[in-house]
Symmetry: C2
Subunit: 338 residues, 2 copies
DNA sequence: CTGAAAGCGCTAACAA
DNA sequence: TTGTTAGCGCTTTCAG
């Protein structure tokens, strides 16, 4: 097939490789006549630069890796889209890497760049601690996503989880709720994000002068909607009374919705529900979910900016960027209690 | 940084590059003593082969491109996951390309391989006709996904849309429905998939001895749930009577659900709803959606198989693979009419 | 079974 | 402004 090389073009045009290269790269100082000649040779031969060769010569790949737990989880696929679009805008291609929260796969991710495959990595870790990460990838342009405990050496983009949980809980309080539950997965939490969200939830209660009741902290066994259903069912069965629930994930919120409705409770009249991540799912339940909405576009933009700086040679200490969040208001927890 | 090259290892081990290469590639015939020595040199230096250089030498990139309209649409993100996992299993990495259904972007996709970036492309076209595609990418290992009109030269994986629509409609008929609507986007349909699905729908009605009523074919203005809502609302407003609806997309089905419930109809009692694609969304509505379920894993596997054969040098005519589908039964159109 | 050397196609000094 | 040439790091004949 297209086995046309730079030198073939040069020969046909009767110039040197350098001149062809100049034309390809749109360098300003090429005599118009030559440019013309070269261009038509390129067209005639259908020349396309071989990117692999270019990479070997320049040492830049023009690619970044994006490593996430699951590429088809709505939060990650929505975030991926923003990152992919932002990367494209900046001239990078995106290599997708799925870790499935597997420590081995997470470790493997950090070797891509050493293998000269990508210029940098955007990584949403689940199992690896930040120290391991820094150890495994010294000098690798790397930006972390998600709520990993504060990394010392590594750049990091996240939202303020405490504030977001505080905001979500306050919203429930403002609409008159007084017995607000919190639904999360508690064990196996390496990242500490649940703790931060729990903290925000507790702060809101304290602000409002309400007691912190341990029995209102509900635990799901894993990150599925079914686990959310089970957790709410169990709470209902043991007679727990609550008029609002803050969930650390939209899927839990969906589970909560189902379980509550199945138990004859109406949402939001009897129990208001707040989800987290503001994914596509939140728009299609009934009632639609009020959900904590991380600014995904800002996460993408900020992550790429930090990564580009690292790729550009910045070698300072790890930087933390807190990006915005809001509360997407929908039917499951409307603004005012009716 | 890790600026360790093959030759560095060779020097430390006191052997030639070839021997190191043999060890790296696990070639069988290396003297155990040498292998030992080389291996410890590799470990000591922390050597990692530079993939870019390897590619330039071998001409294989070990990467495939996956080009789809939208990476965060549930159908595509679910399919992507299967493809990514299957590709990993076969030793490929996946470069994600989003076309946003833009003809220019679709065209650009087909140049990746010419640029020596990937070994092959899996492409779900929306705007490009198959002739354009074949013309633009002669000799490029390429597998098409989706319902593009039968391509002559290009490999293609799809489900039998006529049969799937027939099955979905039959299911409604079997449960006693007699006035079944069909909801789709009609104009701007380059791919003809809507036509195939419409055909299946019509066949089912004919089989059942029912008349084909044009007013039962509902049209949404675009591929959003909101468009589905609007289409159903309009039909209801003009007094259309129907007790079932087959939607060509889960999002339409969600829209239909909303519009019907808002109008005081209950699903499935008054109107049964069948969606298409069996995405995550279908599981989280209430009632959950019965949905035509393409075998996404089979699509991924089949596509990779064909692509690998092309990459391996197969140059025959385009092959069509029809993979299986089923009907995921859920509450919006349960098995028997109660 | 191991070593030496010629590319893979492009870029970027350095000359001209 | 344009041409020459030496790499980028690895693979791979072809000898030894």
């Amino acid at each position: 097939m297209a086995r046309v090389r730079l030198i073939d073009v040069a020969e046909l045009a009767g110039v040197s490789m350098k001149t062809v290269s100049n034309v390809v790269h749109n360098y300003p100082h090429v005599a118009p006549a030559l440019r013309q000649k070269v261009q038509s040779a390129i067209n005639e031969l259908g020349y396309r630069p071989n990117l692999t060769a270019r990479r070997l010569a320049t040492g830049k790949t023009g690619m970044i890796a994006l490593a996430m737990p699951e590429i088809d989880h709505p939060y990650f696929s929505e975030l991926s889209r923003h990152i992919a679009e932002e990367a494209t805008r900046r001239g990078y291609r995106v290599l997708i890497e799925q870790t499935l929260s597997d420590p081995v796969a997470e470790r493997a991710v950090l070797r891509d760049r050493e293998a000269g495959l990508v210029d940098g990595v955007i990584f949403h870790p689940v199992r690896m601690g930040t120290l391991d990460i820094a150890k495994l990838a010294p000098g690798t342009p790397l930006v972390l996503l998600g709520e990993a405990a504060m990394p010392v050496m590594t750049d990091h983009v996240m939202i303020d989880n405490v504030a977001a949980a505080l905001g979500g809980t306050r919203h429930l309080l403002n609409s008159g709720r007084r017995r607000i539950a919190f639904l999360a997965v508690m064990d196996g939490d390496i990242t500490g994000s649940t703790n931060q969200r729990l903290l925000g939830y507790q702060q809101a209660l304290i602000e409002a002068g309400l007691p912190l009741r341990p029995d209102l902290v509900l635990t799901a066994r894993d990150f599925t909607a079914e686990a959310g259903v089970a957790a709410i069912e169990a709470a209902l069965e043991r007679g727990l009374h609550f008029d609002g629930v803050v969930c650390r994930d939209d899927k839990f919120a969906i589970g909560a919705l189902k379980a509550l409705q199945a138990a004859g409770k109406s949402v939001p009249e009897d129990v208001a529900v707040v989800g987290w991540d503001d994914t596509l799912l939140a728009r299609y339940t009934s009632p639609a979910l009020t959900s904590v909405a991380p600014d995904k576009l800002a996460i993408a933009t900020e992550a790429l900016t930090l990564l580009e700086e690292r790729i550009g040679g910045y070698e300072g200490v790890g930087r933390h960027r807190i990006v915005g969040h809001s509360l997407a208001m929908r039917g499951s927890a409307p603004r005012l209690r009716e």
